[in-house]
């Protein structure tokens, strides 16, 4: 597996070269949001807004009203938590062209509870006019800008930084509201987004070896979430569907799938894996994914619960699978 170092840095610079309307605002997290080189390349389009997120939302609103397209770069928690009223009233209500590049989704940071965006998808889903996308690999980090830019309105991007795996071919970019089918099988549907997709991919070979047919769907658009493949896949599954999200299981991907199933009158079972209505704490990503049941082992346990089949898959099988993806053992990124 190819590991790409900081794919956003150069990609964003090249992408913005012929888009003079694109400006960047950040709240004292320039290098932490991988826009230090962007600032040096386009200093007249970069605005450091100090540690003042409420005001930053208003300035972004005003710039958008005048025809600029602000790309706010900061940590996710400082977009949807601290300045939510400003985000909702100054940007989302008037449906302005502001893009939120939200770093450190879920437990991807060792920064602990204050830095971990665990309910952002839930809150943004409940915000009218908001489009929500999430990057799961380097190809999506590189193509999400086109997706966001094409939307005439606010877009919230769960963004990955640092060392990012390339799971999808470079010539298969992210597309709005299109899921990717990464494996196919008749027994169980597994739906993942962001970093949990990689976990599910690690489990796919052992699960196939154990005779479990898995249709694995990767979601990169949380809202809208209307790709018919989701309900079609669930309808044809033997045992039902498992969602695995780097987020609380209340209001995020699992809830969205539950809503769709209920609306459609689906009689299939749904198992929602993710943070179980809890905050997390500061530790490495691999440690937290294991502790809170967001990893491949948790997924295998979920498959066993849903199917009632003992797969015989051991920690060792998954540990072997992990070796290929050494980046997950890489040193935790600094803040």
């Amino acid at each position: 597996m190819e590991i790409v170092k900081r794919p956003h840095v150069e990609n964003f610079i090249a992408w913005a070269a012929d888009k003079p309307e694109v400006v960047v605002l950040t709240a004292d997290l320039t290098n932490s949001s991988e826009v230090g080189k962007w600032r040096d390349t386009y200093p007249d389009r970069f605005f450091g807004m100090s540690m003042a997120e409420q005001n930053m939302m208003g300035f972004a609103s005003g710039l958008a009203r005048e025809g600029y397209v602000p790309y706010i770069h900061t940590f996710a928690v400082f977009i949807y938590r601290r300045p939510y009223d400003q985000l909702a009233m100054s940007i989302a209500y008037p449906n302005l062209n502001v893009k939120f590049v939200a770093f450190l989704p879920g437990i991807t940071t060792p920064g602990g509870v204050t830095h971990q965006a665990i309910e952002d998808v839930s809150i943004m889903r409940a915000t009218p006019n908001m489009t929500i996308v999430e990057t799961g690999d380097a190809t999506e980090v590189e193509s999400v800008l086109d997706v966001a830019h094409a939307v005439d309105g606010p877009v919230y991007i769960r963004m990955l930084r640092g060392e990012v795996p390339r799971l999808f071919p470079k010539d298969e970019p992210m597309r709005l509201d299109e899921v990717r089918m990464l494996s196919d099988g008749e027994d169980v549907v597994i739906i993942t987004a962001g970093i949990t997709t990689e976990e599910a991919m690690r489990a796919s070979v052992p699960l196939a070896d154990a005779g479990i047919g898995v249709r694995h769907l990767h979601v990169s658009t949380h809202k809208p979430l209307d790709d018919p493949m989701i309900l079609e896949s669930i309808a044809r599954s033997r045992y039902g569907v498992i969602t695995l999200e780097n987020h609380t299981i209340i209001g995020g991907l699992g809830s969205a799938v539950a809503e769709k199933m209920a609306d459609a009158g689906s009689g299939k079972r749904l198992l929602r894996l993710g943070l179980r209505d809890t905050y997390a704490h500061g530790a490495s990503r691999a440690y937290l994914m294991k502790e809170y049941g967001l990893d491949a082992a948790a997924l295998v346990a979920g498959v066993e619960e849903l199917t009632g089949i003992d797969t015989g898959i051991t920690e060792n099988d998954l540990a072997e699978a992990r070796v290929e993806a050494t980046h997950s053992l890489a040193k935790a990124e600094g803040l």
Partner: protein, 306 residues
């Protein structure tokens, strides 16, 4: 060479607009048995100054009778009507008016009527179901360009507009009307600090310092004095004036300081309607408690119009 009389003309017209704002709002409060009265009394000269003397606006591009509510902004409503159209077209040379304390909506609508940008019949739609002439306006309401009923969000938005206009080289200014209660919100101080940092000398703010808020008196003695100094300490310029003195307002509002500039208009929340003082310190909203009380206000109204 203009004669002293000609020089006085603008004062006569501006004061007339201010007086008519008070009368029309009182009339409205009487007929509707309630309304934001003190806001009109304290800010009548501020709004009259803005719309007759200070703001450089083009003619309104909006209908004299407001259109009904046609949906919130969104992907399925791309032709959303923005109430800023009542302040004329957006153009490099024109000023922009950003209205912050949305609870003053009745004062703004009334001002638009008095300066000929809105039909007086438009006020018939005030607070009526399906109307854009809302009690607390949003950006579909006449004269309202940004949605600011969640207080203290306008200055930041105006800062973004001013920053964009400065980058473009627009000569027009961005004027914000604020209330003093909004200086209790932290966002206001973030905005002042950043506006000063970006040298937004095209950003001008007039504040109705009436010392009133929803729960009552803000204790102006202790609040106003440090307020102006605090604004200066944050890097903007600020001057205090009598908010009912047209010459003082004119001088303060035409200052060029090279910084974001605040005009702190010290005002009287019962100006022109001394009977209202009976209600002190709760002046935020006037609703009559008896027919007798309403009759006493009606008598004052009759004196004002005759």
């Amino acid at each position: 060479m203009t004669s002293p009389d000609t020089q006085n003309d603008w004062r006569v017209e501006t004061q007339a607009v201010a007086d008519r704002i008070r009368v029309r709002v009182l009339d409205h409060v009487l007929s509707h048995n309630g309304g934001y009265m003190s806001q009109a009394l304290s800010s009548a000269e501020i709004f009259a100054m803005l719309y007759t003397r200070v703001l450089d606006l083009g003619p309104s591009t909006a209908p004299m009778i407001p259109q009904p509510f046609a949906g919130v902004p969104g992907a399925d409503n791309q032709d959303f009507f923005n109430g800023g159209a009542y302040n004329g077209p957006k153009a490099a040379e024109y000023d922009r008016f950003i209205f912050s304390p949305a609870h003053y909506a009745l004062v703004l609508y009334t001002t638009l009527i008095e300066v000929g940008r809105l039909s007086e019949d438009g006020l018939e739609q005030f607070d009526k179901d399906g109307s854009t002439v809302e009690m607390i306006g949003a950006e579909h309401s006449p004269g309202v360009e940004t949605t600011t009923g969640s207080l203290a969000q306008a200055l930041s938005q105006a800062g973004g507009i001013a920053l964009a206009r400065k980058r473009r080289g627009d000569t027009g200014k961005v004027w914000v009307m604020m209330s003093d209660g909004e200086f209790q919100e932290g966002q206001t101080w973030e905005a002042i600090s950043e506006a000063a940092k970006f040298d937004l000398d095209n950003l001008r703010i007039v504040v109705d310092v009436n010392g009133q808020q929803c729960d009552g008196c803000m204790d102006a003695e202790n609040y106003v004095d440090p307020l102006t100094g605090r604004i200066r300490a944050f890097g903007a310029s600020a001057v205090e004036v009598d908010g009912h003195d047209l010459d003082a307002l004119d001088a303060a509002m035409s200052m060029e300081t090279g910084k974001p500039h605040f005009v702190m208009a010290l005002t009287d929340p019962v100006r022109g309607l001394p009977i209202f003082e009976e209600r002190a310190p709760l002046l935020h909203y006037l609703r009559f408690t008896s027919e007798d009380e309403r009759d006493r206000y009606r008598a004052v109204y009759e004196e004002m119009v005759n």
